[in-house]
Amino acid sequence: MTSNWFVNMAYFVVAVVFILGLKAMASPVSARRGIVWAGFAMVGATVVTFFTPGLHNVGLMVLAIVLGGGVAWYSGKIVKMTDMPQMVAIYNGMGGGAAAGIAAIELVRGVPHDGVTSTLLALGAIIGAVAFSGSCVAFAKLQGLMTKAIRLRAQNNVNFFLTLATFGVGLTVAYADAPGGFEIFLFFALALALGVVLVMPIGGADMPVVISLLNAFTGLAVGFKGFVIGNPALIVAGIVVGASGMLLTQLMAKAMNRPIKNIIFAPLTGAAAEGGEAVEGTMRELSAMDAAALMRYGQKVIIVPGYGMAVAGAQHKVWEMAQLLEEGGVEVAFAIHPIAGRMPGHMNVLLAEAGVPYDKIFDLEEINADFAQADVALVIGANDVVNPVARTDKSSPIYGMPILNADLAQNVIVVKRGKGAGYSGIENALFYKDNCRMLYGSAQEAIGQVIQHVKALEV
C-alpha cells in the first residue's frame, strides 16, 4: 500500500464520487450528470496514480493506456445504438481481464501474502478470468458471430469438474510461495475455459441478464484485487459495483420475467429447451414499469380503449394516467373505433364519465394516419378493433372492417387480462407482432400500476 497521503486522499474522493455518480445514474433525471461525474473521478484517479511513489515502466504504461483507451473510445463512439449491449459486454470482459492480469503479475512476481489475501487473490483471478472469457462469448453471441446456444453433452459434469479444477489449481498457486510458470498458466487457462463453458449454453435473449451478472462479477474481482494490493478505492468501487450489479441483475431478470436461476441453470438441466432464444411470433409481456417508462419518455401516445376498459370500469384511471403523461409533456390522444365496446358510443359514455375533454377524442378517420408517428399505442381491453387480420385475411369474419392502425405505432402495449378473444372470437395478429408487448391484468389494476410508475419517473 502506498503511503503517499495525497494519492490516498485523492483515491478517497474518487471513491465517494463514484458512489454519488452511481446514485445519480439510478434516476432518469440525474443519470447524465452521474456518468460525467464518474468520468471526471476516473480521469483524476488515473492522473493521480502516476504520483504513486516508486512507479516504474511509466512509458509502457502510457502507451497501454493510450492504445487501450483509444481503441475502446473509438469503437464505442462508432458503434450503432442497437449494438450497445455487446459493447458493454466486451468492455466489461476487459475489466475482468485486467483484474486477472493484476493477479497474474502478483503471482508471477511471487509477492508473499497472508491467508485471507491469498484466497482473495485466487478468487479475484478466477472471477476476473471468467468474466473476461464469458463476456467475450456473450459479445460473440450478441454480435451474431455465434448464433446457436451450444450445449455440451454432459454439460453439468463438465461445469462441475471444471469449476473444481479451477479453484483447486488456483488456491494451490496462490498459497504457493513461488508458483511455477506452468501452474499459473494452467490456472488461467482453466479459469478462462470455465467462463466459456458457463456462458455458451445460454440463449441470446437472456444475454443482457448474463452481462449484468458478469459485470457484477468483474466488480467483485476488482474489489478483491483492491484488498490484495491494498487500495481502498478499488475495494470500494469494486464492491459497490458488485453489490449494485447483483441487485441490478435481479431487477433485470424480474423485469424480463425470467428468474435468474432459470437463465443460469435451465441450460444446465436442459429443462427449458427453447433456451430463451426469442422465438418469432410469440406474445411477449412487459411490466407496468416498462409501460410507464415507454410512455413517459415518448412524445406521443395514442390510447385505444375497448370493451375491456368498460368491463374493468377503468376509465377514470386511464384518464388519470393520460393527464399525468400530459403533465410530463407527452402528447396523448384517444382513438375511438366506431364499433369499440358493445353499443354505439360505448366509449364516449365512459370517457365522458371520466371527464376526458372532447378535444382529445378522435375517431378512426381522424386519427388513423397518426399512429405511424406515435411512440406508443396503448390498447386497453380492445381486441377486434385493432386486429390487422381485418386488412389481410379474406377468410376472417372481420375482413374488410376498417381497423385502428395501432400496429403502425413504434410500440404497442396491450392491456388485457389473459388470452381472451374479442367479440368475434378470433386470434389477433397484432399481439404477435414484434413491436407489441402485453401488459396482463384487469385494466383497472394494470393502469393503476402504470400510474404509480409514471409518478415514480417524475422527480
Partner: protein
Amino acid sequence: MGERRLCVVPDVVRKYRELGAQLLMQSGAGVSAHLGDDMFADVRFAASAGEVFAAADVVLCVQPPRTESIAAMKPGSVLLGLLQPWSSEERVRLFMERGITAFAMELLPRISRAQSMDILSSQGAVAGYECALIAADHSPKFFPMLTYAAGTIRPAKVLVIGAGVAGLQAIATARRIGAMVEAYDVRPETREQVESLGAKFIDTGVAAAGSGGYARELTDEEKAKQAERLARAVAQCDALITTAALPGRPAPRIIGADMIARMKPGAVVVDMAADTGGNVEGTVAGDKVWINDVLVIGPTHIPSRMPVHASEMLAKNLFNFISPFIRDGALALDWEDEVISGSCLTHAGEIRHPGVKQALGL
C-alpha cells in the same frame, strides 16, 4: 298544464303534527302530485278550498289564492306561500283590508340561514333541470358525442343565459347529458361558478351585480354590447336555455328576433322566463312556436312538471320557515327575526315591505 304542486307532503305533515299543529286540507288536492288523500295520516280533509280558507289560522299555499278565497279567510290569519307580491295591487290591498299577515316567500332575505326556506332556490333548481331535459328532448340532435359504426357525432352546443340557481342547474344537467355548455350572466361572480361546473363562460364585458344576490337592470349601452357578443354565441349553439330574471320586474329581453334568425335550422330555444315576459323575442308562454326553423319553447309552470319532488322541496321550505314559531300548536311570530320581518308582505292592515310598497305605489 297548470299548477300541480302541493304545499305539504306526508313527511312534512308528520313534522307539523309533532309540533302540535292541526292540519286541514282540501280533499284531492295532492292528486296531481301523485299524493292521494290516503297517504296523509292525521289530516282532516275538507270538501272545498273555501272551507279550508275559512277555518285555518295559518294558510299554506303554493300560488296566491283567488280573491274569493282571500275574502273567506279569517281576519288576522296568516298566509304563507309564493304570493307574487309584485304582480297584483288588488290582492295586496285585499290582504291589508282583511288584516291578513301575508308572507310572500319571494321576499325572503337571501341570507345563509334562510336558504333552507328559499322556495325560489329550490324551485329554481327543479326548473333548471327540467329546462335542460326539455331542450334535450326537443333537439333534433344528440347532446353527447357519439362514435358509432359509420362515423362520429360531435357533441351539441348548449348555451345557457342567466347563471342563477336555475341556470346553473341547467348547465349541470346539460353537461351530464353530454353537451358542451357555454353560459352567460351579467353578474361577474358567476364566471367562477359556471366554470366550476365544467362549462365555458362567455365574457361580454358587461357586469351588473345588484344587491341581495340579484342582478340589476342594464343600461342601453350595456345591452347593445352584451347583445353583440351574445349574438355570435347564439348563432353557434344547438340549444339555447334562457333563465335570466330580475326580481319584481318583467324578465329582461335578451335574445332578439335578429339573433333567432341567425340560429341553425333545427336549433331549440327554451325560454324559462316565458311566464314573466320571456328573455326571447317571440316566445309564447305555455306554447311552442317555430320561428323560421328554430323551435322556441316557452314552458310555464315548470316545476309542476316534476310535482313529486317539487312539492317535497316546497313543503320543506315552508315548514322550515314557519316551524320555529309553532309552539304547542300555536303560532307565535317573532318580529325581531330578520327572516320573518323581511318576508312579510302585509301585517295588521299595513304593507310591510318597502320595496313592494314603492313598486305598487301604495
